[in-house]
């Protein structure tokens, strides 16, 4: 187990990077505590797998260093880093039994057979694989194989960190949440640092204590699921997390007050000095409500999702989404809305203004 420090990591796949666009990772600085459950969340191609491979040692970063417990491991080969990784597609050794698969990492390290036996049985018990130790690994279903992959990491007592690279991609939907809660439970049980890479916000938010949101090779926000939801630091986070995502609307400033399409708004940001850049207003659909003292809008469409409704509104050509409760009345004439000031923020060039 270890604390992981990423110190000024930059990585480019081209041998001779010329400008910023050549970097898959632009500048990553992070300290991840021992025993934490982290998720790396971001769209495809944002650099999260690259970052994962740098931590596991399958890639050496172009610049910067990786530290495990303050020891520099940037140039340490994968096999000596004491890490485990579960891949997107299940990796099992086809010709071996489940038992031999789980024993493989220990045998490679010369652990005596009787200790291996005890350890494999213990881990198999944890993963609900105890009944199928004698079966050929190739015969198992995808979720069984992913458990084996995970088990090969868990059997080793010296593992610093277990990494998951979109591990639920090939799992049937009805087994996904089972395996997800199993992971959560295992994390509580073994207490190893875990890093979970995904582009699925549900997976990230349910698994992790802290979520690292990445886009385009940069970390835009690190925070608890609640923080990401309530205080998105970047319009991308607001948009990417939440369903539907945050409303991002054009913002004008006049006399220290923000306004949107002529409607003056109170916000949680300091509107007197927002700094340079293109200004936008960000507010989640959850914090938009009908209010007779608000500004007028048109109702375009109402989608009933059962427990709540998504109302699509329009004001001067800008679309605004709001979430209305089951029982909330949608005014038929002259609807007016307001934004909750505590959750309405100004963003300058995408970054939140405090």
């Amino acid at each position: 187990m270890a604390k992981i420090t990423l110190d000024n990591i930059r990585h480019s796949y081209s041998a001779d990077p010329r400008d910023e666009q050549d970097f898959a990772l632009k500048k990553i600085d992070a300290v991840w505590d021992d025993g934490g459950a982290y998720a790396l969340l971001g769209p495809s191609g944002c650099g999260k797998t690259t970052l994962l491979n740098i931590i596991s040692g399958l890639l050496t970063p172009s610049e910067g260093s990786v530290l495990f417990d303050d020891i520099d491991v940037t140039n340490t080969p994968t096999g000596e880093r004491h890490i485990a990784q579960v891949f997107q597609f299940p990796v099992v050794y086809d010709t071996m039994t489940v038992y031999d698969n789980l024993a493989f990492p220990l045998r490679n390290r010369g652990v005596p057979e009787d200790r291996i036996r005890a350890r494999v049985h213990e881990i198999a018990e944890m993963l609900d694989l105890a009944g199928m130790l004698r079966r050929r690994a190739a015969k198992l279903t995808a979720d069984g194989k992913q458990k084996i992959s995970l088990g090969r990491g868990l059997v080793r007592a010296d593992v610093n960190v277990i990494m998951f690279d979109e591990p639920l991609t090939v799992i049937d939907p009805h087994l996904k949440w089972l395996l997800r809660s199993k992971l959560k439970e295992l994390h509580r049980q073994v207490g190893t640092t875990m890093i979970y890479v995904t582009h699925d916000q549900t997976e990230a938010l349910t698994f992790a204590d802290r979520v690292v949101v990445m886009v385009d090779g940069t970390v835009v926000q690190v925070g608890t699921p609640v923080e990401l939801f309530e205080k998105p630091k970047h319009t991308f986070v607001g948009h990417f997390i939440g369903s539907p995502g945050m409303n991002v609307l054009p913002c004008e400033l006049s006399g220290g007050r923000a306004s949107f399409a002529g409607a003056v708004l109170r916000t949680a940001s300091d509107a007197t000095n927002p700094g340079p850049g293109v200004l936008e207003i960000g507010v989640r659909p959850e914090y938009v409500r009908f209010d007779n003292d608000g500004f007028p809008v048109q109702v375009l469409k109402v989608d009933d999702l059962g427990r709540y409704r998504i109302v699509e509104l329009r004001r001067e050509g800008h679309s605004i989404k709001m979430i209305a409760g089951e029982d909330e009345r949608i005014p038929s004439e002259n609807p007016r809305i307001s934004f909750d000031p505590a959750h309405t923020r100004i963003y300058a060039d995408g970054w939140v203004v405090n």
């Binding site: 596991s56 080969p77 994968t78 096999g79 086809d94 010709t95 493989f104 990492p105």
Partner: protein, 288 residues
């Protein structure tokens, strides 16, 4: 629901393939079956002989000797070509500019017509003027494939290895390229040695292509004719007379159509049987 109109015109689509298979497989095979149970003295007059030719072939010392030579030859080339092919494929680069160079070099022997291969090796190995023959004799080894059985065998085997190892290499290489990177990464993380990677990842993943490679090499080498015919003509004596060379001698040299037909059928059944047994064994635990 829709009413189905019977339409038998679809059969016309099958006619070309039926005609093709009939003319290139069924009719020739049945002609051979016809010959194998009859005796003829010319003029298209045939006498029924039953299984006499089959009994004669199965009890013939000559057939036993050719079959033994054939099995020895096929066994030897498989034992050399398969491990050698895997070794070469493993050492070929997986990416970069050398990939295409290696692939072209590997494919070259496969593009040369079989009789040309025989002729090339014949000249190459001639003790007086051939590069190989002169060199081997030059380092003090008495080597003359036209007179010494051991030299003739070694030359024939070397020629086949040169000609066909590439096939095993290319199939194995394709198989290796299709193994996802994640397997190698997992093996690194699990601390597996290079041998463990080969034994537990590469070899199991290559099982299918290797099965195909071995089957192809078995069938081709078991029916080999042109190359040894051009190289040694089956000699010296009968020492490199493999089954197909012997068969042609009986059929066209002696014009014994009955025994030759019976031998062809036995030959065919041996190839079929070995392939079936091998394939069944290899695929046995696939769908348990």
């Amino acid at each position: 629901m829709s009413q189905k109109t019977p339409n038998q015109k679809a059969w016309y689509f099958v006619v070309p393939v039926v005609v093709l298979v009939a003319f290139n497989a069924v009719i020739p095979l049945m002609t051979v079956v016809n010959y194998s149970v009859q005796e003829t003295f010319g003029d298209n007059v045939f006498f029924w002989e039953g299984v006499k030719w089959f009994q004669q072939v199965l009890h013939s010392e000559r057939f036993h000797a050719s079959l033994l030579r054939q099995l020895a030859f096929t066994g030897m080339i498989l034992l050399i070509e398969v491990p050698l092919g895997i070794a070469v494929a493993l050492s070929m680069p997986r990416k970069g500019p050398w990939v295409s160079v290696c692939l072209v070099l590997m494919a070259l022997p496969l593009l040369i017509p079989w009789n040309v291969v025989g002729a090339m090796w014949n000249i190459f190995a001639l003790p007086e003027i051939g590069l190989l023959g002169r060199m081997v004799n030059g380092i003090g080894i008495d080597y003359n494939f036209t007179q010494q059985p051991v030299s003739a065998w070694m030359t024939t085997v070397a020629m086949d290895v040169w000609h066909w190892t590439s096939l095993v290499v290319l199939l194995t290489y394709a198989g290796l390229c299709s193994i996802p990177d994640a397997y190698y990464q997992a093996a690194k993380i699990d601390g597996a040695s290079a041998w463990a990677v080969f034994r537990y990842i590469q070899l199991p993943k290559l099982k299918h292509v290797l099965t195909i490679a071995i089957l192809l090499r078995f069938m081709d080498s078991f029916m080999i004719y042109t190359e040894p015919f051009v190289l040694t003509g089956g000699g010296p004596g009968n020492t490199t007379t493999f089954l197909s060379i012997d068969l042609v001698k009986i059929a066209l040299g002696q014009f014994d159509l009955g025994p030759a037909a019976a031998m062809s059928l036995i030959y065919f059944l041996i190839v079929l049987l070995v392939c079936w047994v091998f394939y069944t064994l290899m695929m046995r635990d696939e769908d348990q």
